[in-house]
Amino acid sequence: MGHHLTIHATRQCDVLIIGAGGAGLRCAVHLLEKRPDLKILAVTKVAHPQKSHTSTAQGGLAAVDPRDKTDKPIYHMFDTWKGGDCTSDQDVVKRIVEGGWEEIQWLERRGMHLSRNDEGNISKRQFGGHTIEFGKGDSFRAVFEADRTGKGIMDTAWGEALKRGTVFLNFSVATEILFQEGACAGAVLFNFKDGEFTKVLAKTTVLATGGSGQVYRITTNCRGNTGDGLAVILRAGLPIMDAEAVQFHPTGIVGPGILASEALRSEGGILRNKDLEPFMERYAPKMKDLAPRDIVARSIETEIREGRGIMNPDHQIEHVWIDLRHLSAYVHEVKLKEVASFFKTYTNLDSRTQLCPVRPSNHYHMGGIPTNADGAVQRSAEEIIPGLFAIGECACASFHGFNRLGTNSLLELLVMGKAAGECVLSYLKDGRIADPAGAGEQTLSRFSGYLAARGTENTGKIRLEMRDMMTKKVGVFRNERDMREAVAALEEYRRRSAGAAIATQGLRTNQELLERWELDNLLDVAMVIAQGAIMRQESRGAHFREDFPERSDAFQFHNIESMTEFGKVLFARRPVDMSLQTAGDAHSDHFKVIPRKY
């Protein structure tokens, strides 16, 4: 059956927001609070913005309370800098940390149901890597809503976005960014529910498509996190940055990798190996189970490699235990109600009396679309693209450097969502909307190609094989030989994918077609991750090379990575912003390139 695909409709708006998770929604609401007259179109891949992945964030949201006598923003900046293994941009770190508490007030006034202490004030909890006085003691700076902080943020943000008249387009994906004379002019969308391609012409476009965790088999990320935003950017000839910086959460529930929050450890959970030894004491004598994620993840993988793991028969995955048996009934039933119940739900184990199986799980992409401190997308270290912004997990400003601290992502979504919104306002003055020639051709030819393909390959099977391969070869531990094999395997998957025929030929809710497109996105993003990781011959934060176990000053830069032809990754550099260090004040010494020891 031949398919002649066409653009079904053209729409216009002031601001097109691609992705309505925490970042996209915060941006939309800021814009509408400032300019209620704006026409904002927000796109999601899910059934409704509430289904976006931010809703699953559990643990908390970091922000320094100005009334807290022990904590200070400068300590939070230091923790972020140190945690990111000295690769965060210091101008961005300062901006995001200083904007934190205002966001808590913003949420609280709009109805977020933050957990409270007995006096009725906002409660705070401790989280791995967050300290006071430059590492001297633990800080309590994570505010939370029980163990559903992300849901609390989302319900507040989508409610406000709805109240203020955001137009939502769900079950839709952006497949192509449009440009006119070097400036962004909008995007092409595929509404897969109705099977229609739409051209959206916008004065400003904001990418907020979230993570790319589906590149890996064991992941905490949702089914739709296929790195679409990054792939679409690469296909526009633009770069992504530090793609190799991928975080693995130490405690994914065996087998799918569902997140067992850090809160389990901050409330006192202890990791044990098959001999029930509390092994973190050996790897991080001071912080033990509360050491930063990458250190805990490698410690667990080392235990397993050295034969001290346990095999789960159903999933054929080795793991270690998290021991929660000693925690009070109150902690189990109130503080960790939702998370502890995951073990019951997904493994049929009772965490009050039984040990629970965990294994590191892909969790967060520090790398992403390079932006400046306003969220404006960069073509290179020197040049931005007028009218195009990127915020949230798909972006790389870079706040998290090479390793994100728990609770810092939600903070980033909010502060950067607002900051980008503020900057977007300045683009809206001139009313002109461009209509670039040839818009949509790339998308239509790609999708007709998918529908016309013939062969016996199965998209879902290739996807599963690819994810398994990436977990094994470009995961917690990396080395050159494995990663060269990964690159060759990706070439092979790509070749095979051309022979994946699509049985469903109608365009309406064609899951096969959508997943075929997602596979291309996954392959592109995986390829850049693998090659970036090969190029970076050092270990830095979450990027750990067995063949180069130390951090090297020769790699003290951001990797700017582009790929216009599959497999051919080109590299450029962006310096790490050091403005806190060069400020020359009393704290500057803490912001040098320092060793990352806990």
Binding site: G111, D118, I122, I258, Y346, A503
Partner: protein, 245 residues
């Protein structure tokens, strides 16, 4: 103490028969299709659908997102009971229904667009009508930046804030199919009636006591019974009926 170490080293598999209600919008055609598969005890129903896509039939269409019970995207009816497919383990399903044969159908709160996928936007329209936000926030006294709310006060309505709008309750509620706005939509408004930060109570009461309001509810408690988040939905509807906010 270490019992589960031994207990969990034995794996068991089940031979399952899934009969899935299908709908093809292109030919406007509906039919039942049966798939046989063997699966391990702690696989979830979403894992089964994925396996069907890879091993037997790539055209079977279903929805999920978070795949751990947090987003409410994957609701389906299993043997007539609305449930989250991502939370249902094979061994639990076998125990719950006492069979290895399962009939899977879409939820009934909106028209089907293909197979197990419904038009969620139509379902959500009810929730939007209930205004799931603070319509008119109270002004805090001068100098106060964050309000104080006692944990006791929050505890009264906290459970209702856990709702993920999976619409399992609305699927089970007979009144929802006869003009009632639906348990989850009504509850979204009840939360803000109980929240001291909301000033706009009248508009909310007007909706709850309207033609599509809580008096349509017959207190059958089917909603509470099926809620995957174990929210006592009927309790909040009952509070609304009594005006006991």
């Amino acid at each position: 103490m270490r019992t589960n170490v031994k207990e969990k080293t034995m794996s068991q598999t089940y031979k399952l028969t899934l009969t899935i209600r299908r709908y093809d919008p292109d030919g406007d055609k509906s039919w039942d299709q049966t798939y046989e598969l063997e699966a391990g005890a702690i696989l979830r129903f979403v894992d089964l659908f994925r396996r069907i896509n890879v091993e037997q039939d790539a055209t079977l269409t279903w929805v999920s997102s978070c795949e751990h019970g947090q987003c409410g995207s994957c609701s389906v009816q299993v043997n007539g009971r609305p449930m989250l497919a991502c939370e249902l383990l094979v061994e639990n399903a076998v125990a719950l229904f006492g069979t290895t044969r399962f009939r899977i159908e879409p939820v009934t709160v909106a028209p089907v667009v293909r197979d197990l996928v419904v038009d969620w936007e139509q379902a959500y329209e009810r929730v939007h009508r209930a205004k799931p936000y603070v319509i008119r926030p109270i002004e805090p006294p001068p100098g106060v930046t964050e309000l104080q709310i006692s944990p006791k006060e929050i505890a009264r309505y906290e459970d209702a804030t856990r709702c993920i709008n999976c619409f399992c309750c609305a699927t089970a509620c007979i009144s929802t199919h006869r003009n009632f706005i639906g348990p989850n939509a009504a509850m979204a408004s009840v939360v803000r009636l109980m929240d001291s930060r909301e000033e706009e109570k009248d508009e909310r009461l007007a909706l709850l006591y309207s033609e599509e309001g809580v008096y349509r509810c017959h207190t059958s408690k089917a909603c509470t019974h099926v809620c995957p988040k174990k929210i006592d939905v009927a309790h909040f509807i009952a509070l609304a009926k009594e005006g006991a906010f």
